[in-house]
């Protein structure tokens, strides 16, 4: 019964084993959040806050920063394994924009992950990042430290 307990559980205990999974975890994003991200990241490209500029750039409207989506997706992994210090690498391809409507409720991404390989040193987690039923990040892989956290280490 690989994955079932982890799918509903909030936190996985390392070492991870191949086939363990989590999610989908839903993360909300509205205009306020991406304006915050623009300020926090200092990426002030106007396609992330102005419909006028976004449309001129060929979008249907304001879109989230690709790095917001990548960072939020990684946040789901950190939430699962409990320790940002265990993240060794991440890669992602920006395949589709996340359109963020100017509404109170905004929109969401859903993040799920599955361990595709693991040994006693590291584990590789493949992520699916879905918005409106479509994948928005391609080839998302996160490599984490796979040793059991040492006594006294923050989890």
């Amino acid at each position: 019964m690989i994955g079932n307990a982890e799918s509903t559980g909030l936190v996985a205990v390392r070492p991870l084993a191949e086939g363990q999974s989590f999610g989908p975890r839903t993360i909300g994003v509205d205009r306020s959040r991406i304006v915050r991200y623009a300020g926090a990241s200092t990426d002030f490209n106007p396609i992330h806050w102005s419909d006028r500029h976004a449309v001129a750039a060929g979008m249907d409207g304001v879109i989230a920063h690709g790095m917001w989506t990548m960072g939020a997706a990684l946040g789901a992994v950190v939430g699962w394994i409990g320790d940002p210090g265990a993240i060794r690498s991440q890669r992602a391809r920006f395949t589709r924009p996340v359109l963020v409507p100017d509404t109170d409720e905004g929109t969401t991404i859903e993040v799920s992950g599955v361990v595709i390989s693991a040994d006693e040193d590291s584990a590789t987690i493949k992520l699916d990042v879905i918005h409106n039923g479509q994948s928005v990040l391609g080839r998302v892989e996160v490599v984490v430290d796979n040793q059991a956290p040492r006594e006294g280490e923050t989890a």
């Binding site: 915050r36 990241s41 939020a72 950190v78 940002p84 391809r93 923050t154």
Partner: protein
């Protein structure tokens, strides 16, 4: 070194290996870490309190400072509004912590052209001024020239 004087500016494979001077040290602050984590809707305790670490993708905030070196390079004639960030990867040695001073050093690692679009590979190394390597941020950018649109 020895560019022919009549050459027009523009990216070409001869720019592979071009490396820019490191950026001025960026001082990571607890306030900025908390702001960044909040923007990611991430309430992890590791990002808050008196001695926080930064969310891993915070590395991009500092790496992006080195990108401006690239867009300011008159030889390349790149335009930010013609640029698409196609993919991104990171390798982290350890989390960035409040108080870290971090420099970013950018190198152009590949240049290809496909039907009028330049495909540019970049590598940004994040290090402390003392030479401790902290992270590497690797990116692919697509740059569309005026004539290709």
């Amino acid at each position: 070194m020895s560019q022919t004087p009549q050459q027009t500016p523009g990216l070409s494979p001869e720019h592979v290996g071009r490396r820019y001077p490191a950026t001025e040290p960026y001082i990571v602050s607890a306030a900025k870490i908390a702001e960044f984590a909040t923007a990611l809707a991430d309430d992890s305790a590791a990002y808050r309190g008196p001695d926080p670490v930064a969310p891993p993708t915070f590395a991009m905030v500092i790496a992006a400072q080195a990108w401006s070196r690239l867009f300011d390079d008159p030889d390349l004639a790149l335009r930010l509004d013609h640029t698409i960030h196609a993919d991104q990867s990171f390798e982290w040695v350890r989390p960035l912590r409040a108080g870290d001073a971090v420099t970013a050093t950018l190198e152009i690692t590949s240049v290809r052209n496909r039907r009028g679009t330049d495909i540019i590979g970049l590598e940004v190394s994040l290090d402390t001024p003392d030479g401790e390597h902290l992270a590497t941020a690797t990116s692919t950018l697509w740059h569309t020239g005026e004539d290709a649109a």
